[in-house]
């Protein structure tokens, strides 16, 4: 049955897609919505999916376009739905090392929340380029292809994103407690 086949093709990639969607949206709800949109767009395209040699890069490419479309739609939409993100909760649930001492964990969470806030202020295509390059190990060329811009533009996006974030990470704060 074609629906089962879609499930077989799509399911192995959901975890990776969600992780990337989270990096781009920085919100667990938005990340899930993005993966949902992708599934909805492709549920009828099983024959096309079957023909692809490398499905995952293609899925990521399509999801990136949906992400940019959704972002533009949100920007252009005069009605703002306040999606109250509980950063502490989302981080605690997803990525905080629970084995650490509570006091250390709180410090670390604060830093991470600060960084996420800063990431949310950066142009999405800059932040996504930074994550793709620094975390996912994409080459400049691969990012350029995904974002459909020149390699120079990708380099500039990564540089600007880093620059904005570095301002928030002052090394001085690290030395004080260490010494």
């Amino acid at each position: 049955m074609i629906e089962d086949e879609f499930s077989q093709l799509f399911t192995p990639h959901v975890d990776v897609l969600y992780r990337m969607a989270f990096q781009w949206t920085l919100d667990p709800n938005d990340a899930e919505e993005l993966v949902q949109e992708l599934a909805l767009k492709l549920v009828n395209k099983v024959p096309e999916l079957r023909r692809l040699d490398q499905l995952r890069p293609w899925l990521i490419k399509v999801m990136y376009r949906i992400f940019i479309d959704l972002h533009r739609r949100k920007v252009n939409n005069p009605v703002v739905f306040e999606n109250s993100l509980n950063l502490d909760e989302s981080l605690t649930n997803n990525s905080v090392d629970q084995s650490k001492e509570p006091e250390t964990r709180v410090d670390s969470e604060k830093l991470k929340v600060e960084l996420i806030k800063e990431l949310k202020k950066i142009e999405p295509n800059r932040a996504t380029a930074l994550f793709l390059f620094e975390v996912e190990g994409y080459s400049i060329n691969e990012i350029a292809e995904l974002q459909q811009v020149s390699e120079g533009t990708v380099k500039s996006r990564i540089f600007r994103a880093k620059d904005s974030l570095k301002k928030k990470i002052s090394l001085g704060t690290f030395w004080d407690d260490y010494s």
Binding site: E3, F6, S7, F10, T11, V14, D15, Y18, R19, F22, Q23, L26, P28, A31, E32, V35, Q36, A39, L40, K41, L42, V43, N44, D69, R72, R73, N76, N77, P78, N94, S95, V96, D97, K100, T104, D107, S108, L111, K112, L115, I116, L119, L130, F131, E134, V135, E136, K162, L165, K166, I169, L171, T173, F174, W175, D176, D177, Y178, S179
Partner: protein, 241 residues
């Protein structure tokens, strides 16, 4: 200390920190695994280039830490089942909207008002799809209780795949067969040239109203409105007089 040695220490520290399941940046992290020697810290404080080098490593660790999220349990099943459900709902609605009126009434038996909306998809305006921005293009007249098939024609220069169609109705106008439904939403492929959609409209109360039709494609929305004007019923007796 020279820069090469300082960077070797930073690299080693970075590797140690990366090996943690959840590397987190905080003051104590410089002591994780193989801690940075005090002389290296002093060097970084004095050397701007090595400070930037350390900053890059910290940023990389921090981004990696943020990116380490696990998908919620049952996400794949949920997403796939939602997609399949929505897809089958949209297909049903689409079929009903485009075909049912034609089968039920036929063109001969009912009065058809033809409205023609012409737009070029490459020139869709970059503005929100709000009714406020729509051009009012057409008027139709309805009697209370009367079902009138309204033919909406969209003429496109280029085909559009997976366009989102929305029909918004005021509370006193219904599409026959869709009682209490005020918003119809479905996806469809629009071909190049004429695309005809037939809406069997029914007026429930003697009040004028507006029906909004929106076509959305790749984040751009075009809105149209149909002015519905009330026509008073004329009895047969009145006609004979």
């Amino acid at each position: 200390m020279n820069c090469n040695l300082a960077r070797k220490h930073i690299d080693r520290w970075h590797i140690e920190a990366s090996l943690l399941e959840h590397p987190q940046i905080e003051p104590h992290n410089f002591a994780v695994g193989e801690p940075l020697p005090q002389e290296t810290i002093e060097h970084i404080q004095e050397c701007q280039l090595c400070e930037q080098y350390a900053q890059n490593h910290i940023l990389n660790l921090q981004l990696t830490s943020i990116a380490q999220v696990k998908a919620p349990s049952g996400l794949a099943e949920r997403v796939i089942s939602n997609a399949q459900e929505q897809n089958s709902r949209q297909k049903t609605k689409q079929d009903q909207i485009w075909r049912k009126p034609l089968l039920k009434y036929g063109f001969v038996a009912v009065f058809i008002v033809s409205l023609s909306f012409v737009f070029i998809n490459s020139q869709l305006p970059k503005q929100p799809g709000s009714i406020d921005y729509a051009d009012i293009l057409s008027n139709i007249e309805l009697q209370v209780g009367e079902v009138k098939n309204t033919q909406v024609q969209l003429t496109l220069q280029q085909a559009i795949s997976q366009a989102s169609m929305r029909v918004k109705l005021p509370t006193h106008i219904e599409i026959d067969g869709y009682q209490d439904v005020r918003l119809l939403n479905w996806q469809t492929n629009l071909k190049s040239g004429k695309n005809v959609m037939v809406l069997p409209l029914q007026l429930l109360e003697p009040i004028n109203g507006l029906i909004a039709i929106e076509v959305e494609h790749q984040g751009v929305t075009k809105s149209f409105t149909i002015n519905v004007n009330v026509v008073e019923q004329v009895d047969d007796e009145d006609k004979t007089i």
